[in-house]
Structure formats: structure tokens, C-alpha cells
């Protein structure tokens, strides 16, 4: 019979398991890595979070309503999962891709014919990228309608807007890399926009494409941006973004006060009735002393029992997140198997294909460009939109998060959102060669 340290047993257990796995799990080397057993007790569940660095992105306990799918639709989490998928598939792609005008296109073809699952990996990468743009945008919309950008979350909203821009930057730089006609002309059109920036436009465009036209220099710097610069910035900002979400308490309560902060998670909520009492007799305030005061019974009970509506993150939220992550992966895989990433002919600077369409998330911008002066449509409108988005929490000072109390903000945002969606849909589906109006059911020029 082996001597077993009773501290290494689950509480309430009397018998010792002598199976080989159980013995390994009690051994010192195992315990040096996993410091405690997995216990199905409140203490054990809290320990799971305390002793695991990765679980530190979550609070140990969360309000029960966070478990409700309706609260966040899990969009932020899905975006993070998609980023993870992009990171993994991106690393695979890096092994077979050379950012050179001479070989990039060939590498794409080789991926299809010479690398096991190569095309699938590229499809997954492309579809995750499309979905990430979509999901990040939806996340922003959801956060707006929930009023979750209000105090104390203003700055996290700003970081969120920047993350959206970085996501678009990823998509745009990645778009060029296959070096086919689709890539070449979408990026030519996109980078020529920069030319219209007042004063520094020409110089800025030179820095971006590194020459008189899109070429080897452009490919190399887009590659560097895509695989090194942007991932670093995104990882850094995403860390701050998630950390702030955790600190601010995960979910907005639909009230006039609106903030549910870490203070409230880590201390029992300060009872409303206690505050006036504390003001009246500060020396008595604290602990349970206030219960001995002469107050009417109702308020005592109310004050004494703040309802604990929190549950342990591990396993309640974690298991939901795992399910959502698996669902996301399944959707991406389904799309990747069904629809291949396009690869048109080798990039040819002398032939512009008809129509030369930007990727769908820039189609709205392209639609604007076909109607207005490039300075207005390409620079002023988008820059203005970004500026308004960034400053939104500082413009909208109304602390109320209930929809019925913020009609103006919701109506204005909805109109702008509808405009953006309509422009994008027209640009994506209703435009053919020469940017002429077409019916999408007669001939579609959509390229994903």
C-alpha cells in the first residue's frame, strides 16, 4: 500500500485509487505541471481558473446572463476563433509561398496540384478571412445596439474600431499575394485611392506600392505587412481589447446606470439601502453591523442579501465557447469544401479585366467612387466615417443603454448602416463591366 498525501485527494474521498493513471496523476512530476486535481467543487472550479494562465482571459465567475447567447451572439469570440484559424492556415501557406512576382502565381497553382490538402488550406484561409471581416463588422453593430460602448467602455470601443481597420488591412494586403488578375487590379484600384489624399497622397502611394505601379516591391511589402506587421499589431491590440472586456465585466446590463464593472464582480454588490446609512453613521458602516440598526425589516433583508447571480466560468462559459468554436470551424470547413478560392490568370499590368471589382467589403466604396469625386468618395467619406466611429462614445454622452431611451442614436446609426449595406450590395451584386447596372440573376460577376 502506497502512502498517499491526503492533500492530494479530493475532499470527501476516503479510498485511494491505485490505477496507473491515478498514480501518475499523483506523482510529483505530474503535479509540478498540473498543481491540483480537477475537482468538481466550487473551490476546484475556481482553482481551474486561478492556476491556468490561458483561463485568465476570463473572470473566475461571470454573471449568469453572460451564458445567454442573446447577450453577445458570441461575435467577438467567433472573430477571435477565425483569427486563430487564419493564423494556423497562414503558417501552412507560408511554407509553400514565395513573395516574388516570378513565383507567387506558380506557388498558388502548385498548392492546388502538388501539396496535399493545399487547396483546402487556401480555401479555409480565404473563407475565414471573408467571415472575419463580416463577423468583426457585425460585432461592432451588435455592440452599438447594446450600448456597450458607453462609460467605462469608451476606449475599448476605440480599440475595437482599430481592430476592424486592421482586419480590413489584413484582407487588403492578403488579397494581392496570389498575384493573379483579380489581386493585381483590386490592389491597383485600392492603392490609387491613396493618391487623392491632399498634399501627401503621391508620396504616401509611393511608400505603399514602392514604385510607379504595383509590382515586386508592392508584393514584398504587402507580404511583410500581412505576415509580420499586422499580426503583431493585432495580437497586441486584441490582448488589450479582451483584457478590457474582462475588466469591465463581460456584459452590459440594460439599465440607466449601464455599467457592470469588475468592482461588482469581485465584491458583493454594494446594497443600495446601505449607502444612506453609511453616510449617516460612517463609524458603524461595514460588516454586518448595519443590520443591528433600527430600520424597518424590508430594507434590512434587501440590503443584506445581494443576489449572487454569478456562475463559474469553468466549465459553464468555457463549454459554450468550445461549442461555438467547433461550430465556427465546421462552417468554415463547409464553405471551403464547397467553394474554392478563385485564381484567375497571371497578373498582367497591360490588361484590365472587366469588371475590375474590389473585394466585397470595399464594393460599397467602389460604388461611391463611381458616383462622386474620388477625394470625396475615396477619402473624405471613409475617413469621416472612421472618425465618427472612433469618436462615437465621446459624442454620445447619454449613459442610458436601453433602446427606448436612445432613439436618436439608434435611428442615425441604423440609417448609416443601411446606406453602407445598400451600397455594398449594389457594388457587389448589381454591377457589371464598365460598372454598368446589371441584374445579378442574369449574370453574376461576384468573386470571393
Amino acid at each position: 500500500m502506497v502512502e498517499v498525501d491526503p492533500n492530494k485527494l479530493e475532499p470527501g474521498r476516503t479510498s485511494v485509487d491505485h490505477g496507473i493513471t491515478a498514480r501518475i496523476k499523483r506523482s510529483d512530476p505530474w503535479r509540478s505541471a498540473f498543481r491540483h486535481a480537477q475537482l468538481d467543487t466550487p473551490r476546484g472550479r475556481a482553482l481551474q481558473s486561478f492556476s491556468n494562465v490561458f483561463l485568465h482571459v476570463y473572470p473566475v465567475k461571470i454573471p449568469k446572463r453572460v451564458l445567454n447567447l442573446r447577450y453577445s451572439l458570441r461575435l467577438g469570440f467567433i472573430a477571435a476563433v477565425l483569427f486563430g484559424i487564419l493564423l494556423v492556415t497562414g503558417i501552412y501557406l507560408m511554407f509553400v509561398y514565395t513573395p516574388s512576382v516570378g513565383s507567387a502565381y506558380g506557388d498558388m497553382q502548385n498548392l492546388k496540384t502538388g501539396v496535399g490538402f493545399g487547396q483546402l488550406i487556401r480555401n479555409v484561409h480565404r473563407w475565414s478571412a471573408h467571415l472575419m471581416v463580416l463577423v468583426v463588422a457585425l460585432h461592432l453593430v451588435r455592440v452599438f445596439y447594446a450600448g456597450a460602448y458607453k462609460k467605462p467602455r469608451e476606449f475599448n470601443w476605440v480599440i475595437g474600431v482599430m481592430l476592424l481597420l486592421i482586419t480590413l488591412g489584413f484582407s487588403f494586403t492578403g488579397y494581392l499575394l496570389p498575384w493573379d488578375q483579380l489581386a493585381y487590379w483590386a490592389v491597383t484600384v485600392g492603392t490609387n485611392l491613396v493618391h487623392y489624399v491632399p498634399l501627401v497622397g503621391g508620396r504616401l502611394q509611393d511608400l505603399l506600392i514602392g514604385g510607379p505601379q504595383v509590382g515586386q516591391n508592392t508584393l514584398l511589402r504587402f507580404y511583410a505587412l500581412h505576415v509580420a506587421v499586422l499580426p503583431s499589431i493585432l495580437a497586441l491590440m486584441l490582448t488589450v481589447h479582451i483584457w478590457r472586456v474582462r475588466k469591465d465585466g463581460f456584459a452590459v446590463e440594460r439599465t440607466s446606470v449601464g455599467s457592470f464593472s469588475e468592482e461588482a464582480t469581485e465584491r458583493p454588490a454594494a446594497a443600495p439601502a446601505a449607502e444612506p446609512m453609511a453616510l449617516a453613521a460612517p463609524e458603524l458602516y461595514g460588516g454586518r453591523v448595519r443590520l443591528l440598526g433600527v430600520v424597518d425589516r424590508e430594507s434590512v433583508t434587501e440590503a443584506a442579501r445581494p443576489v449572487d447571480d454569478t456562475v463559474f466560468t469553468w466549465p459553464h462559459l468555457l463549454v459554450r465557447h468550445v461549442v461555438v468554436a467547433l461550430g465556427t470551424a465546421a462552417v468554415v470547413l463547409g464553405l471551403a469544401v464547397s467553394f474554392s478560392a478563385p485564381l484567375r490568370g497571371l497578373a498582367n499590368p497591360n490588361v484590365t479585366p472587366e469588371p475590375a471589382k474590389a473585394p466585397w467589403y470595399f464594393a460599397g466604396l467602389q460604388e461611391l467612387l463611381s458616383r462622386f469625386d474620388p477625394l470625396v468618395a475615396g477619402i473624405l467619406i471613409p475617413a469621416g466615417a472612421v472618425l465618427v466611429l472612433v469618436l462615437l462614445p465621446y459624442i454620445d454622452r447619454n449613459p442610458d443603454t436601453r433602446a427606448s431611451h436612445r432613439k436618436v442614436a439608434i435611428v442615425l446609426f441604423s440609417i448609416l448602416l443601411a446606406l453602407a449595406v445598400v451600397l455594398t450590395v449594389i457594388g457587389t451584386f448589381f454591377r457589371g463591366p464598365g460598372w454598368k447596372f446589371i441584374a445579378p440573376w442574369t449574370h453574376s460577376y461576384i468573386e470571393f
Partner: protein, 165 residues
Amino acid sequence: MDDTSRRDFLRGGWKLSGALLIGAAAYTGYEALRPLASSAGGAKITVGTTSSFATGTSTYVSAGRMYIVNANDYLFALSQKCPHLGCHVPYCESSGRFECPCHGSVYDLAGEYIAGPAPRGMDRYEVTLEGDNVVVNTGVLKAGPPRGTNNFLTPPKGPSCIGKA
């Protein structure tokens, strides 16, 4: 000098060093990204003799990425790059106009703006005659004529090329 001023001095020193570091990083970034003076472009190209460009025709010269057009016996060297957003503007034989497939800008044979979102006509290289030879200086690119210039505007010869693809 009391403690506070020394502390302030050091604090300022850190800020200054930080600013210098950022400045150095930005300058290095600029140096790494700025395009190097390229050997391409800027050369004088002899594209042919005057007789090789008949009135009312457009000839593509791939060496200079440009068209040599003869509009009413005036020769122009038009950059293929659309002044709107840089697409290659093809010449449409059937309509006798330049029609950009990207956003639908249309120019007449001399590259003058007719329709679409472009801010001006097609950009032009300097053309000189050396004897009977037509020489284009690709080092000098002049911005195209402003909107509303229509010295060479003629009705379209025939149907537009856009939409037939």
C-alpha cells in the same frame, strides 16, 4: 536644485529619448519603404515615323505603356493609366474612344474626358518630332486636360465595347 527638478529632468529625458527612438524608427521605416530611383521610365523612345500613325487611329506602344493617337493630325502619347484609379484604359475600336472597364470613364481619341468618374482627361507624355521620327519622352508626364475640354470630341463611331465581355 531640489529632488523634484531632478526627477522632472529625468522624466523629460525619458520622454525625449522615447521621441528620438520613435523618430529614428519612423525614418528607418521611411528609408526601407521609399521607392528607389528606378532605371525604368524617363527614357526617350522613338515609336515610329509620322506616316505610321494614320489620322483617327490609336496605336499601343507596350515599351512605354502608352497609346500614340492621331486625332485630326495632332499626335498625342497617352498614358494607359486611367487618371481615375489607375486601371489600364483599353482603346475601343468600335466606338473610337477610350473606355475604362473599372469605373466606366470614357475619353475621346485625344484622351479628353467625356464621361465617368475620372477627374480629368488621360495623362500625356511629351511628343517631339526629330525629322520624321516620332519621339516620346517618358520622363515627362503631363496631367491630362481638365474636364470640359473637347477640342477633338466627335460622336462615337459605333457601339461601346463595355458590356460585351
